[in-house]
Symmetry: C2
Subunit: 187 residues, 2 copies
DNA sequence: TTATTTTTTTGATAATTGTCAAAAGAAAGT
DNA sequence: ACTTTCTTTTGACAATTATCAAAAAAATAA
């Protein structure tokens, strides 16, 4: 749990009182490889912090799994659309390595926003940082070739290459597994 | 300005006091076609609300303009990365039709967050909604063909087709203008 | 270890999309 | 109306990437 504290402190230094209130409503989740944290068609009631392990988010398009996200240590995890809109989502979040997470329920978080304004500020700031990252990914996706997208991944996110299988990386980059395999050998 | 009030009320109903404080620090910006609201290499100090008109955001990649965003009535506008990080951005925001905006400076907004917590909540909620939209675009970009992306645009954002030139729409969809022209005739 | 399953690579081919160049069409200015 | 400029379309061709099928390699389980 201290890991979470250190992590959020980098975004915004919340008060001791706020942290204590937050700690009280956190639930530890230990979950093993290949199981699911979130499944499509359900409302996602929790926001998670990934303390240890590795996850992937994917959805199904034309019968194929499209990986749109990977989660690693110190990442926040949820089916964002579903968590915010309180409607069923289309995303699955699968555990790729045995993982430890801390979860908070949507209603508990909203109550904390009322009682501790620095927690609401924290979440606003985290949201903003995540928005920027998403924007960067969209820009890369919009007009770069498969090779450029792969090279950018090698440059910016080498940890992904070490822990994720080729097929899932290919999907994440929006290319076929065969193409990615060929790109790798030709570099 | 009432238009802005109506717009934000749909996200979160702020108190009268908060609205009054916000109103005081808003600046009206009237800006004419083909000029620039934001230019690359500069720090973007303002968040804008677009009351009337139409804008596009683009950046330069390999000497080409890549349009990544269009703004219409009731949209919030800024160079998000720059506004949040307080560093120079890579984006240009160009006026496509004579426009009326309301601007607020970054420092003024942060002061308002301290004095009016419902404004911070409002912004948190707006950010979340914008995040969801961005996520949807990324998903479309990741694994749909050019034709599918175009058809999705026709379905979801027909107003874009009416007000934006073909070349800029093609760029927004991540395809060449010639390809988009061919797709249109073959539908 | 051996067997089984999963992942990655390779080959052949087809489909999609980009690029360059030029023509046609539409819009804006005089 | 007539230029001039900007936008869109069309053609020919090249490059990129996907798809299908099978082989090779690696990981996992028995």
């Amino acid at each position: 749990m201290n890991i979470l504290f250190d992590c959020i402190s980098q975004y915004y230094p919340v008060s001791i009182g706020a942290w204590e209130a937050l700690s009280k409503v956190l639930t530890k989740v230990e979950i093993s490889k290949n199981s699911f944290l979130i499944q499509e068609g359900t409302v996602c009631n929790n926001l998670y912090f990934l303390e240890k392990g590795c996850l992937r988010g994917y959805y199904i398009l034309d019968g194929k799994e499209i990986t749109y996200w990977f989660g690693f240590e110190n990442n926040f995890v949820t089916s964002f659309y579903s968590f915010i809109s309180r409607k069923p989502g289309v995303e699955n979040i699968q555990i790729l390595e045995d993982s430890t997470l801390w979860g908070i329920r949507s209603d508990a978080l909203n109550q904390l926003f009322d009682s501790h304004r620095d927690l609401e500020r924290l979440v606003r700031i985290i949201n903003e940082q995540y928005y920027i990252r998403l924007e960067e990914r969209l820009m890369a996706m919009q007009f770069k070739t498969a090779r450029e997208r792969y090279e950018q991944l090698v440059e910016n996110s080498p940890h992904i290459l070490k822990r994720i299988s080729l097929g899932q990386i290919a999907s994440y980059l929006g290319i076929s597994q065969e193409t990615l395999s060929r790109i790798r050998t030709q570099v």
